[in-house]
């Protein structure tokens, strides 16, 4: 009997089990969003009714609109800030490089709830102290999302930037292009896949975020994930399944797009050395 073959079979089985555990609930939700029967657990036929019904619910429309607004603005701001920080961190030899990097990446490992609570306290106090600072509302949700998701942009863009090496920039200088021209013509085009991936991921992270939004929203803001959660508390309806399905597809598309851009090889130097 072959030990390594057994081990491989066991591992494969375990892997399938984990995947089932993760995705089976999602699959069930998606399946039942097409279920004609009102009773969630009883399959009686295919329908798209729940989608139209969810779509025609004004509260859902409003929540979707708010989530999209925040997610798009978040993607733009987080991408700009994150890219700038990645460029500054990438090849700097400053003594601040390491402490700053640690701070940025800490936001990814600190439990979200901690950031959420801290953000809420900070935003409330800031509004009390400075009248120009917005009160809790969509702007504070956006700020919390930006702080958190720009760390991912930094991570993606910086790894590409440092991996790229500086020889192409040197070649550009050598051929008479100054720093600005070099950045626009050489650095930026090569970073673009990473920047696009960062934008997609930060959009997705904001779009499906619940914890940060709940803590930094006022009573009358309701993002889409908040709407889903609020309704689930009163029982799972097919309409909730339907909007969950849409949300899952948006997020899956965002992540898949980001992966595709991150692994794109278009910018590699021809000889494999940066």
């Amino acid at each position: 009997m072959n030990d390594s073959a057994t081990r491989r079979r066991l591992l494969t089985g375990w892997g399938i089990l984990v995947l089932l555990f993760l995705y089976l609930p999602i699959a069930v939700v998606i399946a039942y969003s097409f279920n004609a029967n009102e009773a969630v657990s009883n399959w009686t036929g295919f329908t798209l009714d729940w989608f139209t019904r969810a779509w025609e619910t004004p509260r859902y429309q409003k929540a979707l609109g708010l989530s999209l607004k925040i997610a798009v603005l978040n993607a733009i701001i987080a991408t700009l800030l994150g890219t700038a920080a990645a460029l500054a961190l990438g090849r700097a030899r400053s003594k601040w490089k390491v402490p700053f990097s640690v701070l940025v990446f800490l936001t990814l490992v600190v439990p979200e709830i901690v950031i959420a609570v801290a953000s809420r306290i900070f935003f409330v106090k800031a509004h009390e102290g400075f009248s120009f600072f917005p009160s809790l509302g969509w702007k504070t949700i956006l700020m919390a999302h930006v702080v958190w998701s720009s760390a991912v942009v930094v991570l993606i863009v910086r790894s590409r930037f440092t991996g790229m090496g500086s020889s192409l920039e040197e070649a550009s200088f050598d051929l008479g292009a100054g720093p600005v021209k070099t950045f626009v013509q050489v650095t930026l085009p090569r970073l673009l896949p990473a920047i696009v991936a960062g934008a997609l991921l930060s959009f997705t992270m904001s779009f499906d975020n619940y914890v940060l939004s709940v803590f930094t929203a006022s009573g009358d803001n309701e993002t889409w994930p908040m709407a889903v959660f609020n309704d689930v508390r009163f029982g799972v309806t097919p309409a909730v399944n339907a909007i969950s399905t849409v949300m899952f597809l948006v997020v899956a598309a965002g992540v898949a797009g980001a992966m595709w851009f991150v692994t794109r090889k278009s910018g590699e130097p021809a000889d494999g050395r940066g």
Partner: protein
């Protein structure tokens, strides 16, 4: 307005330190207009650093660098009239071959039709016509090399800097490109500063060779001079093979120094300053001959230790009476006595011409 000097680049007491490492040490160097100058030396001796200081990627810790008549210290690379062919080519992967070559002209503001025409001409010069629309990764290593060359040549710089441009190519392609590079250099008449650690490459292409060691130039001369009259044991050992014997000068008369070495005495021609005290005597292996007897000057008895076949030549390592060895490279089936039949242990007689021994600083 300015009076054109006969030098394109001048280093005056240039030192470059990286932290505690002295990469270039108080270097003086004059690069003549239009010459093919090679910087030759072993790894880490400061060749690349010197080149990068000319290009403007590194600034000297102290000393001055002139490019033409202008002080270059502090001038960024994009304002210098020099261009570089990088060892790993550094072609822009997101641009076509033609756009790569036209890149520098674009930065200068040359209009599109004109820069396409000139880029095309540069590609023709390096025999790359028909590949304009390709991306660099669709070319072979040798072709990428040519694109890198065209991209720098099209700028018509005062000086072209090449950092081991053939390092990544295989042996045959290297040989072809050496010939090609020399042809192009003669055709365009641009000053080339060429970094290599391949002595054969430096010998075959250069007008002058600067042999570097530990951030200093040991000798700067034409290839034949560096070979025939190396200034030090380091240079002698770096360029070709060299038998060296330590000895003491006994006397000098009539342009010939008599030196006591372990195996007897050696007579070496001297020019200029008279040597004295402890010296090294060098004899190139190919200047040593196998002879029939000991009748005559510059002859010595020895025993064959190893015999190595080198194609058309044979390398013999022979031990003399005092235990020191002498290496000879002799033609196979040549005029020398029966070298083809020699085996280790055979007793032979070796000889060299009066002009063969070279005096080296000990």
């Amino acid at each position: 307005m300015s009076v054109e000097t006969e030098f394109d680049v001048r280093f005056r007491g240039v030192t470059k330190r990286f932290g505690g490492v002295v990469a270039v040490d108080d270097l003086d160097l004059d690069v003549r207009k239009g010459e093919f100058l090679s910087l030759l030396g072993s790894s880490g001796c400061g060749k690349t650093t010197s080149l990068r200081m000319i290009a403007g990627f590194e600034q000297p810790t102290s000393g001055s660098i002139l490019i033409g008549d202008d002080d270059a210290v502090g001038v960024p690379p994009y304002r210098r009239d020099v261009n570089t062919v990088f060892q790993h080519y550094a072609l822009f992967p997101h641009m076509t071959v033609l756009d790569n070559v036209a890149y520098g002209l674009k930065q200068r503001g040359v209009e599109k039709a004109e820069r396409r025409k000139r880029a095309q001409a540069a590609l023709d010069l390096v025999h790359l016509e028909g590949r304009e629309g390709r991306k660099p990764r669709e070319l072979s290593g040798g072709q990428q090399q040519r694109v890198a060359l065209a991209r720098a040549l099209v700028m018509e710089p005062r000086v072209l800097l090449l950092d081991e441009p053939l390092g990544a190519l295989d042996q045959q392609l290297r040989k072809d490109m050496q010939v090609e590079l020399k042809r192009i250099q003669q055709e365009v008449g641009i000053t080339f500063v060429y970094v290599t650690h391949d002595q054969g490459e430096a010998m075959s292409m250069s007008d002058r060779i600067a042999v570097m060691c530990n951030g200093k130039i040991e000798q700067l001369d034409a290839p034949e001079v560096v070979y025939d009259r190396p200034s030090s044991a380091f240079v002698a050992g770096f360029i070709g093979e060299m038998n060296t014997m330590a000895g003491t000068v006994r006397g000098v008369s009539g342009g010939v120094a008599t030196i006591d070495v372990a195996s007897g005495t050696v007579a070496a021609p001297v020019d200029g300053v008279h040597p004295s005290g402890d010296v090294l005597v060098g004899i190139r292996p190919e200047k040593v001959r196998v002879v029939a007897d000991l009748d005559g000057p510059n002859r010595v008895a020895a025993t064959v230790v190893t015999r190595l076949q080198l194609g058309s030549q044979i390398q013999l390592v022979a031990e003399m009476a005092d235990g020191t060895t002498l290496t000879a490279v002799v033609p196979r089936a040549g005029t020398d006595a029966d070298v083809d039949d020699l085996v280790p242990g055979d007793h032979i007689h070796l000889s060299w011409s009066a002009s063969a021994p070279i005096l080296l600083a000990a």
